[in-house]
Symmetry: C2
Subunit: 224 residues, 2 copies
DNA sequence: GAACTGTATCAACACCGTGTCGAGTGGGTC
DNA sequence: GACCCACTCGACACGGTGTTGATACAGTTC
């Protein structure tokens, strides 16, 4: 069963609360949505650091002070968006894990990583903004840490189970290996999304990652 | 032979030029050094985003406008420091490569990764600042891209050579594999330096990374 | 329909960080 | 002693953030 980590998060991850408006229920919901949509739209054009509160307010058809009625800061807007993306991705994960554990490792692993990759790739602007925000915002760091923690725990369990079954040879502590592999995925995917200069082509990312995972875990790219 | 990439970099990487003062040679060298030292010192206390030009100026015993006589911006200061760190690390790389190619893969690889790891670990504050700066500063992005490019090229060459020798089995294109592995190292090391929550202990980083590299390249953790 | 309550709005303000301009100052040199 | 040139900094303009207080307007509630 996938680990969900500290309960302190619930307030943070909850849909419209905590990060959102102060109370409200009236037509101002439209404005809140307009702000979120403006943010997503602008993030596809330029990095978070080049978007101001005023840009978001103008984009949503309100003044800058009005913006603060809906969100306490620019960061809060992005965190709300990232919350939702992460929640959506979490859905994929559950599914992926089921597929993975039993049956053929290669196909299973690929399907698992595929769903995650697809989820973030489909919202690359948000993914990149999350990474940017993580550098300066402790809340963003915390949120992402929990996401990573979940994946690492899952992968650790899979590795241990495969080793117990005798399907995978022994090696470094499963959790350490899982941590490195999950972090590799994060970095490789980010580089591909950002179009960095040494980076994998977007349609090569999965092939290469799956191959390295299999070799790392099973000692061969084609385990039986 | 290690690749050094585009020559456009020379201006950027050159020690006291381009990024440094406008002309000068007199005693103001002290002030320039004082600024650089202040920056390094403050970076050990708090992230780059929480350090202002005024902090650097005060730390160097000058006023804020005077700061601009020596550096065009806060970013330029950090870039100068990173330039130097990167240049120092490049020294290790040359050495490392020689050790690596011939002899026992495991020991060779470990020594190679070790030097790099040690170089960045010894200046972790600068390393973290470089990562932070990379998010918002194109010049920093460029500089780091070149560094990564160099490593990827070297590792690609090693993998191809081992495959040609028959020491390593075939697999995904060497360059793709090298890219993923180098990016994994970057991310895992960063997480360890930053003390992220799912992260390897600092004294476990090398063991785990070497193991994954060996399995990825040779199909076994104990080639030879 | 008047008084009240809570949502929603924004002009004006206080604040902070950046980068520039222009008026200096003081040591070296011809 | 006139002149440079490295060097310094007060004062400014600008742009971003977040807050305050006055106001408008929509529903109750009596």
């Amino acid at each position: 069963m996938p680990t969900t980590a500290k309960p302190a998060t619930d307030a943070v991850v909850a849909p419209g609360k905590g990060r959102g408006r102060r109370a409200a229920r009236a037509s101002g919901d439209d404005r809140e949505r307009a702000i979120l949509e403006t943010a997503e739209r602008l993030l596809e054009e330029r990095p978070l650091s080049e978007i101001s509160v005023d840009d978001l307010a103008k984009g949503a058809g309100i003044s800058r002070p009005s913006f603060y009625f809906y969100f306490p800061s620019k960061d809060a807007v992005v965190l709300t968006i990232v919350d939702r993306l992460v929640a959506a991705a979490a859905g994929s994960r559950e599914e992926a894990l089921a597929t993975l554990a039993q049956g053929e490792p290669r196909a299973g692993l690929r399907r698992g990583l595929e769903d995650l990759y697809a989820a973030f790739r489909a919202r690359r602007a948000v993914t990149l903004a999350a990474a940017e925000l993580r550098m300066t915002n402790p809340e963003a760091r915390e949120l992402w840490a929990e996401v990573m923690e979940g994946w690492v725990a899952d992968v650790t369990a899979v590795i241990e189970s495969e080793r117990a079954k005798g399907a995978a040879p022994p090696g470094p502590p499963a959790r350490e290996m899982a941590t490195a592999l999950v972090q590799m995925n994060e970095r490789v995917q980010y580089a591909a999304f950002a179009g960095e200069s040494p980076a994998l082509e977007e349609d090569r990312v999965l092939d290469v990652l799956v191959d390295i995972w299999l070799r790392a875990i099973y000692g061969t790219a084609d385990p039986g």
